[in-house]
Subunit: 195 residues, 2 copies
DNA sequence: TTATTTTTTGAATATTGATTCAAACAATTC
DNA sequence: GAATTGTTTGAATCAATATTCAAAAAATAA
């Protein structure tokens, strides 16, 4: 018998995030991922079915995490709808700020994933969307959110806005302190642009 | 002498938008684009340097158009800052609603473009950003916009939000009437989520 | 009609890089 | 210390497809 040295599966996944972020999925070479993970090219195929499988697992892992965290906030009975929106924004901004490369992959390879995988595309936004749904509906019921705003538009709007902010932050094209980002978004969401 | 038949350059570009939207840049085959444009594979290389050059020209064309239209709105002295924001949203939503495939390529291949082309990445958001800058600054000066919101965050936020809405609309995953989309966004921007 | 020139063609070429797999390796057991 | 068995390796294979280019076609000129 021979036992496994270290945690190659994890090393490969982490290396892949870096390489995908740097070069994009299609331009990324397995050999480069292997090199960065300090394993042989062939080892990658021991732990993952193929290149696409690596991408899928990156998303799955992130998605499970977000699902858990957002659901917890959405279901917290001690919070008002407004506080929930605040916390959800904060959570999303924090998650991606802590792992910039992950956020770049998340934004850039979204369509790579959806084109390749129908099943995934259905489950995909579910976590975020369902959580947002509940918060938004609750806000409307409690008459603190504006019911003239279409819920579906609101969800897509928010998601896209956050995605882009996070992405530009990760690419260093924005370069605004995280606190200022959170505060600005929270003001915009709650009060709009106007004074 | 032999003269050109029809407008192959244009046919190829239009076919490419369709194919890129359907399969993504990297999975798209030149032969497929040629087929759709009703020309031979080789003809593509008469009109475009290479595959990437086609993508660049798709973006360049769209970008010039948006630049022209957004600048016109931003510089119109007869409009208030709020009206300008309204009109810019309307223009963006309309442009992409009219050409769904273009909007899909625009969103999905943004990073394909930026990774390959440094010069382009600098000029890239310029049109939208500069126009937005002027409107936003004007709004702050005239004390109709909230100066606690960071301008850079606002621009990225708006851009990402619109991008995502337009994209999901094009992919038919949203499916809300265009008018409702516009109205919802305009309320959110101006008044925020709250009543 | 024939020659000239430009456009168009699509099969052949060349490259790139994902994936495979037989061999080497290192723990563990006996 | 030899046998066993799971792990790791990386060069060889193989497929995909972007790009090239010599030949064919068509329009115009002579």
């Amino acid at each position: 018998m021979r036992t496994k040295e270290g945690n190659k599966e994890k090393d490969i996944l982490e290396a892949a995030v870096k390489v995908f972020a740097e070069s994009g999925f299609h331009r990324s070479k397995i050999s480069k991922i292997a090199e960065l993970a300090k394993v042989a090219t062939g080892s990658v195929y021991v732990y993952y079915e193929n290149k696409y499988d690596i991408l899928r697992k990156i998303f799955e892992k992130l998605w499970n995490r977000l699902h858990r965290e957002l659901t917890t906030i959405a279901d917290d009975k001690s919070l008002t709808p407004e506080e929930k929106v605040d916390l959800m924004i904060e959570k999303l901004v924090d998650t991606f700020t802590e792992e910039p490369e992950l956020s770049i992959v998340f934004v850039n390879e979204q369509h790579t994933l959806l084109e390749g995988d129908d099943e995934m595309s259905v489950r995909y936004y579910t976590a975020y969307y369902k959580a947002m749904d509940r918060v938004f509906t609750e806000g409307i019921e409690k008459k603190v959110f504006n019911s003239n705003i279409d819920m579906r538009v609101f969800k897509d709007f928010m998601f896209g806005a956050l995605r882009n902010i996070i992405h530009n932050q990760a690419r260093k094209t924005l370069n605004v302190p995280v606190d200022k980002i959170k505060r600005s978004i929270q003001i915009m969401i709650k009060n709009g642009l106007k004074i």
